[in-house]
């Protein structure tokens, strides 16, 4: 691959930022290789409209000082035509200044550029900004964050640097504030530090007599409770039901359920019964007791515990 010398020179010139046409192009001595067709076309320039309006004031005529001073008239600037032109021009200038100001006051123009933008850094998304830099706007945000010092704190800081002024509340330290949850721990540690003497002092505080030994155990274990059946009826609290009792009651219940009086008793048991209906229940229960207990050899005889009935009516 053979390169000619101009190609090599142009390559180095491009690499150092120079263009070939600089200093060598002139209309009188055009470079033979400065043809635009051989160079890559430049990117088209984007023409942005200028914000500042063009100000083209009217031409001002030179003042005629002598004429105005000689006539004794009040100081005027120029002749009538010139004055009219100037006034038109100044009016036009005022209108243009108003437009310019209004264009500056638009929200897009009012927003100040960010410092990063002003320094040329690429804009950073607000969500990706570090927090400490978000509140470091030097002019606006710090001045907003700073609160006015309280008058009391102001006087406290100025009058007494380390002493508490009379009548002013004592400043609450964070360790002593009631909201701090480690208050008890701090107090306890302080008490321990105060009460815990040094080894030398600890020897002085040794008790003369040995501490009383614990003679008996304070906590006594409760005796194991007998096994109770939770599914059994709770009406008789004085009994502890065994497995045999449970089986027997289940068999009795199965047998009594054949009797229609049993279901009737259960249905109307929790109703608000009159004594007439209640006596029917009493009769039914007494009949069942007589049937299932008194007629059997191994059964305990049912008897009433009322001492009145033992005497009987006269």
């Amino acid at each position: 691959m053979v390169h000619s010398l101009p190609h090599i020179i142009r390559f180095f010139a491009y690499s150092f930022g120079f263009t070939w046409s600089i200093g060598s192009f002139s209309p009188n001595h055009p470079h033979p290789q400065s043809d635009s067709s051989k160079f890559p076309p430049e990117p088209p320039r984007v023409l942005t409209p200028s914000v500042t309006p063009r100000y083209d004031p009217a031409p001002v005529e030179p003042m005629d000082h002598h004429h105005s001073l000689s006539t004794g008239s009040p100081l005027t600037l120029g002749s009538d035509s010139a004055k009219r032109k100037r006034s038109d021009g100044s009016r036009l200038a005022l209108v243009e200044m108003h437009d310019q100001a209004s264009s500056y006051m638009s929200p897009q123009s009012v927003r100040a550029p960010s410092p990063a933008k002003a320094q040329g850094h690429p804009p950073v998304h607000p969500s990706k900004k570090p927090r400490h830099t978000a509140s470091l706007d030097p002019d606006t945000e710090i001045s907003n964050v700073r609160a006015e010092p309280h008058p009391w704190t102001h006087t406290y800081d100025r009058s007494a640097s380390n002493t508490n002024p009379v009548g002013s509340p004592e400043p609450v330290s964070p360790a002593r504030s009631p909201d701090v949850g480690n208050e008890t721990d701090l107090d306890v540690s302080a008490q321990e530090r105060e009460s815990d003497p040094s080894p030398h002092q600890r020897q002085r505080f040794l008790p003369l007599s040995p501490p009383p030994q614990q003679t008996h155990l304070q906590v006594t274990e409760s005796p194991p409770k007998p096994q109770t059946i939770s599914t059994l009826p709770t009406g008789s609290n004085s009994h502890t039901w065994t497995e045999d009792d449970k089986n027997l009651i289940e068999q009795l219940k199965w047998h009594m359920s054949m009797d229609p009086g049993y279901n009737e008793f259960l249905e109307s048991r929790y109703k608000q019964l009159t004594m007439h209906e209640q006596l029917k229940h009493y009769t039914y229960i007494a009949k069942q007791l007589e049937e299932y207990t008194c007629g059997r050899t191994n059964a305990k005889k049912v008897r009433t515990s009322s001492p009145i009935l033992s005497r009987g009516p006269n």
């Binding site: 608000q272 004594m275 007439h276 209640q278 007494a286 207990t293």
Partner: protein, 95 residues
């Protein structure tokens, strides 16, 4: 002939097993305390003395209480009924 297993309730084997069936078990079937059975039997005996058609005499207040709707609960009414019967029996014995 195939063998047939018949489930026999345990209740019919009580005599053979020599279980002691007591008032406690019967009242346990009804889920009631034993005191309830004592109260029921005492009430029935006194009612046989002083109730309607009683062997001793008929007390008018006892007959009125028979169909009286209990103001609070049936248990309280039954206690009042039994207290009234005991009072009558005590008065009868004191005389």
């Amino acid at each position: 002939m195939p063998r047939r297993f018949v489930l026999v309730p345990l209740f019919f084997l009580v005599d053979q097993i020599n279980f002691s069936l007591s008032q406690m078990h019967v009242m346990g079937v009804f889920n009631l305390p034993e005191s309830w059975a004592d109260m029921a039997q005492e009430t029935l005996q006194l009612f046989a003395f002083y109730g309607p058609g009683g062997s001793e005499f008929e007390d008018r207040r006892i007959i009125d209480m028979m169909d009286e709707i209990p103001p609070i609960t049936g248990k309280i009414q039954a206690s009042k009924f039994l207290d009234r019967l005991r009072q009558l029996h005590r008065e009868q014995n004191d005389d």
